[in-house]
Amino acid sequence: MSENKCLLQVENLNVYYGSIHAIKGVSFQVNEGEIVTLIGANGAGKSTTLNTIAGLMKPKTGTVTFEGKVISGMTANRIVPLGMALCPEGRRIFQHMTVRENLEMGAYSRPKSEIEDSIAQVFERFPRLKERRRQIAGTLSGGEQQMLAMSRALMSKPKLMMLDEPSMGLAPILVDQIFDIIKELHASGTTILLVEQNARKALQIADRAYVLETGNITLSGTGTALASSEDVKKAYLGG
């Protein structure tokens, strides 16, 4: 555990879909410089938690504090400029736009003069995207789309990057690549909040982890501690 200051604090968050109580009093925090992962089964509320933090959904009660500022209740477009990005589940890149246009959209809230540099950095990291910069994003392969989605989120220069199921639907070799990218991002100073089905890999790279079950946090600890916990092994790591 680091002594770094708290970047994101979620306190007693309650979220409803109509009458369904999806998130039941969830509290956790992410410190600066950490990789924190939320693991849990389908429908446990992982994506709902991230979407609520990002401002796509409104909590019924509870607060989300980012760098000491209460952001719960703010819409997503006002949260992004504060330095938080969400790379959403299912990638959700703009299918009808070119690769480059997608990247430019990622920097929507930044001054135009800074965009070129960031695009150059992305192209350096992902030469594949540079080759395909004029291509319509919907025609990219699944792995390329995930890289584009992550790069697009990076274009806002986030302090906190939230990733929702970045390895979903990808071949094992691509999954390794995605996790390498996450480690690289972390090494370059970005704090990461990661939601993953692939609990084994997520726990391997995480400083700390929380287990979410039907809207409640049932376990928490360091990545290695949880990876060796019997309960976690049974439920999420296949025995």
């Binding site: 990002a54 819409t75 477009n77 969400l86 703009f94 299918q95 959209m105 809230s109 919907g138 989120a153």
Partner: protein, 294 residues
């Protein structure tokens, strides 16, 4: 031959008006995913405002056009804020019925203010025509101005949507509202701007249309509104070039149908063509269809 050319030009001219109206339908559909059936009535309001400026206030035509654009822009934003925004999460049927209600509301409001008797619209475009081919082919100034105005509108709108920051935000919102928000796009503002632009275009269409067909009454907007909606579906609803192509084709089909087949069935042709196109291409002529990759 000259007869055909002359018909073709009136068709393109009428179609240009349809295209300008269809742009409003298609942009709003693309971004707010709703059919704004009150759009046709904004055309009528635009024409009345211009009428008042010219006839009651004696202002020059250019001022009349600008005033009508300004009023319609505000009206469009107001309609969206008051009637549609509270229903953002409601079922599409609720929104559709609200739009139809808004359409009747505008018609009745116009009837209250200006009366049910048709007004004779004072054209903003000088009467007369350009004579070509040794006096055989006449093109009215109204047709020429209408076609020119629609070209300007289309080029300007394409540039705006394709190049400007707001235009790009609009395309993102039309594709995925949530993802657009995650980029920092203000979705409410984008929707307001869309309604504003659509309604300003409706004002232009209203003035152009009433310059060519100078009878103005509270229901003036409904038929062109429905035809322009047809044009938008014909071209592929949600697609801006589709609305342009659909509008112009529809105008040409209507006029040629009236001239060569039956003058009574002109409107029926328009809808028959729509049915045929939708049977062959359900997404319309230029409707988008990209296979999603997983």
């Amino acid at each position: 031959m000259t007869m055909f050319l002359s018909n073709l030009i009136s068709g393109i001219s009428l179609g240009s008006v349809y295209a300008i109206i269809a742009l409003g339908y298609t942009m709003v559909y693309g971004i707010a995913k709703m059919l704004n059936f009150a759009h046709g009535d904004v055309i009528m309001v635009g024409a009345y405002i211009c009428f008042c400026c010219l006839y009651n206030l004696g202002l020059p035509p250019a001022v009349g056009v600008l005033a009508s654009m300004a009023v319609c822009t505000l009206l469009g934003i107001l309609i969206e804020r008051l009637a549609y925004k509270p229903l953002r999460q409601a079922t599409s049927l609720a929104v559709l019925i609200t739009a139809i209600g808004m359409s009747y509301f505008l018609q009745n409001l116009a009837q209250m203010i200006w009366g049910a008797n048709p007004k004779s619209f004072q054209t903003v475009i000088p009467a007369g025509s350009l004579t070509l081919m040794g006096g055989e082919l006449k093109i009215s100034y109204v047709s020429m101005v209408t076609i020119a105005a629609s070209v300007v509108v289309m080029v300007a709108l394409s540039l705006f949507v394709g190049r400007s920051k707001m235009g790009r935000a609009m395309r993102c919102v039309s594709e995925d509202k949530g993802a657009a928000q995650l980029m920092g796009v203000n979705v409410d503002l984008t929707i307001s701007v869309t309604f504003a632009i659509g309604s300003a275009l409706a004002a232009i269409a209203g003035v152009l249309m009433c310059s060519a067909y100078p009878t103005l009454k509270p229901t003036t907007g409904s038929m062109p509104g429905i035809k322009a909606f047809t044009a938008a579906v014909f071209g592929g609803i949600g697609s801006i070039p589709g609305a342009m192509v659909g509008g112009i084709l529809l105008g040409v089909i209507e006029i040629l149908g009236r001239a060569y087949v039956s003058s009574e069935l002109g409107d029926a042709f328009v809808f028959a063509v729509l049915i045929l196109v939708l049977l062959v291409r359900p997404t319309g002529l230029l409707g988008k269809k990209i296979q999603e990759k997983v």
